[in-house]
Symmetry: C2
Subunit: 335 residues, 2 copies
């Protein structure tokens, strides 16, 4: 039991905790900046650029799902929040909440996955903390990550820059993460060919921020593309008009949504960007996203117009429907 599963004493600050931190965490997440014996890490910092910070909690169930797991998701989620802010992610801190009885082998898989994702995104984990809680709490593992990044001086992004006539760019299909996680729960007796889109959006963000007409980026996680669109409409007082025919939904996601009654526009993505761009540059940006391979599925899905601040989808057959702000639909534990 001591060796194979987490026990309460792993959280008491003593010998077992030190061994867990050294053998399970530090061995996987080691870097010259991570010293498990200090209270705070010192960050080397370049003379130029603006310091950006973000934080996220992760409670996804199941912990492992097709296309990802809570370990890599905790890296990608935080890297992506920095990326859509226009920053280059540099450093991460990690909080782990572990449930008594958690299999150590599972924890090791999650940390291996986390480590690989961090290396791929070139971010360093510089500080961490671990708590152990009783059986039945925290669904095995929760993670919380904080990310620190550097934004080029003068790069200005924000909803306040959005203007009528701007185009809305989406870097790939919608709802893959939400649908894959829902199906992985096996609550529905369905099995499918679904994979989460969970990934770093940094390559796509780097391409997009080369365009001076870039106004704003956001990754459509909880609440999906519909929620990002509503946030924009609400903040700008402008209308967003999306074309159903241009919004990519993969066939298995469409099937699952049809069977379970979900709208894919409200399902979480974990590897996409919604970007608002000057109408004159949107085509060029999409071409560049496709050519570079940063986002082979990039498309223009709509535009911003003056008028009533709402999100309208023009359907394939010429109709219109309004995407309301998400209310009571509970899609818990998606990230």
């Amino acid at each position: 039991m001591h060796d194979s599963h987490v026990i309460i004493a792993h959280g008491n600050g003593g010998k077992l905790m030190r061994q867990l931190i050294e053998n399970v965490f530090a061995s996987r997440l080691a870097s010259p900046l991570l010293d498990v014996n200090v209270d705070a890490a010192q960050l080397p910092w370049p003379a130029e650029g603006e310091l950006m910070i973000t934080t996220d909690g992760f409670t996804v169930q199941p912990l492992e799902f097709p296309g990802g797991d809570i370990g890599s998701l905790a890296i990608h989620g935080t890297v992506n929040d920095l990326a859509v802010s226009g920053a280059e992610p540099r450093y991460l801190t990690l909080n782990a909440f572990l449930e008594e009885g958690l299999e150590i082998a599972l924890l090791e898989r999650l940390l291996d996955s986390m480590s690989a994702a961090a290396r791929a995104c070139e971010v360093t984990i510089v500080a961490g903390d671990t708590k152990v809680v009783g059986r039945g709490e925290c669904g095995g593992v929760y993670f919380a990550t904080t990310g620190v990044g550097l934004k080029q001086q003068g790069l200005s992004l924000g909803m306040d820059r959005i203007r009528p006539g701007d185009k809305i760019v989406l870097t790939g299909s919608v709802g893959d993460h939400g649908a894959a996680v829902l199906l992985a729960r096996e609550d529905y007796g369905l099995s499918g060919d679904l994979h989460s889109d969970a990934a770093s959006v940094l390559p796509a963000a780097r391409v997009l921020r080369m365009f001076s007409g870039l106004r704003f980026m956001r990754d459509p996680t909880r609440g999906g593309v519909a929620t990002v669109a509503n946030e924009i409409a609400r903040a700008t007082g402008l209308g967003l008009y999306l074309s159903e025919v241009f919004i990519p939904v993969s066939p298995p996601v469409a099937s699952v949504c049809e069977i379970l009654g979900f709208d894919p526009y409200y399902l979480a993505c974990e590897g996409r960007i919604v970007a608002v761009m000057d109408g004159k540059e949107a085509e060029a940006a999409v071409s560049r996203l496709r050519e570079t391979g940063a986002a082979p599925g990039a498309v223009i899905i709509g535009e911003v117009q003056s008028g009533y601040p709402e999100v309208v989808v023009r359907t394939e057959f010429g109709g219109e429907r309004v995407l309301e702000e998400l209310e009571n639909e509970p899609l818990p534990r998606i990230c």
Copy 2:
């Protein structure tokens, strides 16, 4: 139910979540730097000093206890980790994990307490995230905070600076937090006059770091003073000799420990510093801590000696006992 308790839909990214964030969180934690509509916050940063970062999770039970609560503790714990690293805390990020069914009024009390603690420590909450999990998970609330601070250029603290002959300074009585939380659980049928020592150690850290002979500071949280002493012995290869008669234990803490069989040296403090100082400066530092009111209960509790790397307590009557590294004693959910 919508208004008085947390429901799953408060975590879905939609309208109820926005209202919770705006009305419950942002209204209490507001600052010019906290914009709940952005993915990452930009931090103004002075040209000089070294950037320090730390992170902590909080799962204490009960959520409110004599002398504090999980809200103020989440601020003090992270502020204290920066303070003992020699830094001035500046910015905090906050993750909240909320249990379905949590009373909103309780959450509001915790956030009010958090807000007051942050103001008192002059730290600004700049980014946050909230997740809602199902009933039975997360004991009502977990918090995770990450702190960013600034350390004076050239200030060097670390266990590697500790030398034989150095003195060990403690800024107050031990075990108050651990004993107060244990008693507040009412598992023991005891009631007492106990209060947690949970507080910012920043005033004491500021006094201590004025002394060039300061080698190292740490706040003795999980595992208490005994665990910090063991960490020092382990890292330095030196022996630590503590005098029982000089280590302050308040009478109610001593009583509780006697009745329940706990050793107060292993109980968590949340408002103390263990500092190692050049022997020649320790007396002056203690005087200054007392005179300034930064730590009226500051004392020298022992010294560092060459020899076998262990922690030895000299008892009142001339005996010696070794404080071993904490092993299986489970004192869960103390912070």
